[in-house]
């Protein structure tokens, strides 16, 4: 993927250069949300009646809910009637083969450095391309099918594998879970679906690339990943959006289910448009991500590198239900200029000897605000549970803030929780030392920041690690001097 990443780099240059828009003809709903819009959305997607009802029930729940206000991030009220809940490039139907894809869309992904092709560059990665509300392409489907692995858009899964979708959709994040999860359940557009059968080790990385293109739309994708007994899958998620002065809402739900001895590794490199230097525009990234270790010895590992979005507000979590199951959360959150991030995780220990590990690295520059918020909850049943939490913050400059808010609730005396937290600054000494060796100031910042995050970066699959490393440097450009 090296070449692809180089392209991303060229496209990015210094400022946010994923910021272009694609001139495709789009079909879209007028702004506004009511039951009728949901029925139309569901009909447009040719969904079965049970799903239409499911959406409507979620919508009714949502109507009774209030926008939460406990978070540190601040933003003006969102007008949910001003958003369009469906936007899709016009095409008669989903192209049957990769050759039939609209050349404009193809060019978009080329420019982003992830060409829609099953060729050498992306040889190790199968990609689902989501453009605004719909999935436009999925590569390597055949090859995966041979192993019994299902990897497709969730809309397609609703049609082709209704029994699986019906069984698991909402089983980890119920529609009434929270305000944005309810909204997502009512209006979710598309996203990815993965099922890995018993004992199968998925031989390649599965990946979804989300792109918001249309103006004034929200993106509400829904991802569902099921790893059956003894299986393994590594899944990557990447995202960008054009630069726009108004804010765009991204309210996704991701559900992971790992059965006995199964392992799911979920990695995110989030680079939505962060807004400009004055804080105009940018994506609101309000996402509910949760994994359920349902089986014994199951393992779910979240790794996230969050560099984009005006506001990031998410807590990828693990419910450790099976005995001896393991949850991990590795996070790098970078904020610069006026960005805000309130992110962290929840580890809910239910099963015996369940273990969790949290490593969070927050980096704040400019006038940004960066909060780690994490909950470790050990229930009565979780005999011998263990948690280790490490939260480090790095400040660049004088006007940014970093905060650590850990909540620890232990109901079992045999459990053990450890929490470590540090806050540091990039020192003048370190910068000078690097520059004295010939390294430019910007590269020095990137080097030091990457060093600070190394534990987390090491968790990323190779192809992503390189990209993420460069992204860190780019996000922090202009943060010193």
């Amino acid at each position: 993927m090296a070449t692809a990443i180089e392209t991303v780099r060229e496209v990015t240059g210094s400022e946010y250069k994923y910021g272009f828009t694609t001139p495709v003809e789009e079909e879209r709903f007028p702004p506004g949300l009511d039951e009728d819009v949901i029925r139309r959305l569901s009909a447009r997607k040719q969904e079965p009646a049970w799903l239409t009802e499911w959406r409507l029930a979620a919508y009714r729940r949502w109507r009774q809910m209030e926008m939460p206000d406990w978070q540190k991030v601040k933003f003006p009220p969102i007008d949910f009637q001003a958003i369009s809940y469906f936007a899709a490039p016009k095409q008669k139907q989903r192209p049957k083969s990769l050759d039939e894809i609209d050349p404009e869309i193809r060019r978009t992904y080329d420019k982003l450095g992830i060409p829609i092709r099953e060729q050498e560059i992306l040889a190790g990665v199968a990609v689902d391309y989501v453009f605004d509300s719909v999935s436009v392409a999925t590569t390597f489907k055949r090859k995966l099918e041979e192993l019994g692995i299902i990897f497709c858009s969730i809309s397609e899964a609703v049609r082709e594998h209704p029994e699986l979708v019906r069984k698991y959709l909402g089983s980890v994040v119920p529609p009434g879970d929270n305000f944005f999860a309810a909204l997502n359940s009512a209006v979710f557009s598309d996203g990815s679906f993965v099922y890995v059968p018993k004992g199968v080790r998925c031989p390649m990385e599965l990946s979804t690339y989300f792109r918001i293109n249309a103006a004034g739309t929200g993106q509400f994708e829904r991802t569902l990943i099921i790893a059956d007994e003894g299986s393994y899958v590594s899944y990557l998620e990447g995202c960008t959006a054009p630069m726009r002065d108004e804010h765009q809402l991204h309210a996704a739900v991701v559900e992971l289910i790992a059965l006995d001895d199964a392992e799911i590794k979920y990695s995110t490199v989030q680079n939505w448009y962060p807004g400009d230097r004055e804080g105009r525009g940018g994506v609101y990234n309000f996402v509910t991500k949760r994994g359920l270790c349902r089986g014994k010895r199951a393992k779910i590992s979240w790794t996230q590198v969050e560099t984009g979005s005006a506001i990031t507000w998410k807590y990828p979590s693990c419910i450790l239900q099976g005995d001896d199951s393991v949850g991990e959360f590795y996070s790098v959150a970078v904020t610069n200029h006026h960005q805000q991030a309130d992110t962290g995780t929840k580890m809910i220990h239910i099963g015996k000897r369940t273990r969790s590990r949290i490593v969070s690295k927050g980096i704040a520059a400019g006038r940004s605000d960066n909060t780690y918020r994490g909950l470790v909850r050990i229930l009565r049943s979780a005999e011998g549970a263990r948690n280790h939490t490490q939260c480090d913050s790095l400040l660049i400059g004088e006007h940014c803030g970093a905060h650590t808010v850990p909540y620890i609730e232990v109901e079992n005396r045999t459990a053990r929780c450890e929490h470590e937290a540090t806050t540091s600054k990039i020192s003048e000494d370190q910068l000078f030392y690097c520059r004295q060796r010939g390294i430019s100031e910007e590269d020095a910042v990137a080097l030091i920041v990457n060093g600070f995050c190394r534990e987390v970066m090491n968790e990323l699959p190779m192809e992503f690690a390189v990209e993420a490393k460069k992204l860190l440097g780019i996000s922090l450009e202009g943060s010193v001097g």
């Binding site: 520059r435 060796r437 010939g438």
Partner: protein, 251 residues
Amino acid sequence: MLLEIENLHASVEGKPILKGVSLAIAPGEVHAIMGPNGSGKSTLAFVLAGREGYEVTEGSIRFGDEDLLAMEPEERARAGLFLAMQYPVEIPGVGNLYFLRQALNAIRKARGLEEISAAEFMRKAREEARRLGIGEDLLKRDLNVGFSGGEKKRNEILQMALLEPRLAVLDETDSGLDIDALRTVAEGVNRMRRPDRAFLVITHYQRLLEYIVPDVVHVMVDGRIRRTGGPELARELEERGYEGFLGRLAA
């Protein structure tokens, strides 16, 4: 001349530290600077390297045919100025060799050279490390993190050897070294002596200068070079200390 310092005045936080330093070093020469604590030796080294906060209020520095003071720290490094620091800095999470390779490539790039291949780099680094008595594990560890005082100093010399500067300023590279380490480090420097490369060695001890024999010795007192002589000047200082000498100067 490779380096020409003329009437250099510099302040730190508004406090004058260097009060008219003049010094000229020709290619191939080794100069030593000695002087009591707080006399401004490290300050001079930092001013040469362009460290922020060290404000030049008067005077000039030429490096080859360039105006050194007009250059950014990284530009000075790329032009061939190396400073082995008195207190090398720790950078957690950044591998020692990784850092060195980044530095080498930054310098090569600025000179229009290709990046060094990973294999070639490893070969050179390992060879030099072996000569300097730096173990394999130290190469793999994070830059200077948890290194002993002596290990840090050896590592500075390793960097110097690979970056191949035109002028190397060694700020008390000998302090904190045991006798064997002192010899190894001195040998490292001597191996690098070349007709087109010069050294400015800051030290408190005559002993280092027995291994690295200087062409010229300067004595710095209170921000000025008070005396300049040959290697015998270092011996004289060792015997009498700065006290008497200061007294005589003050008179």
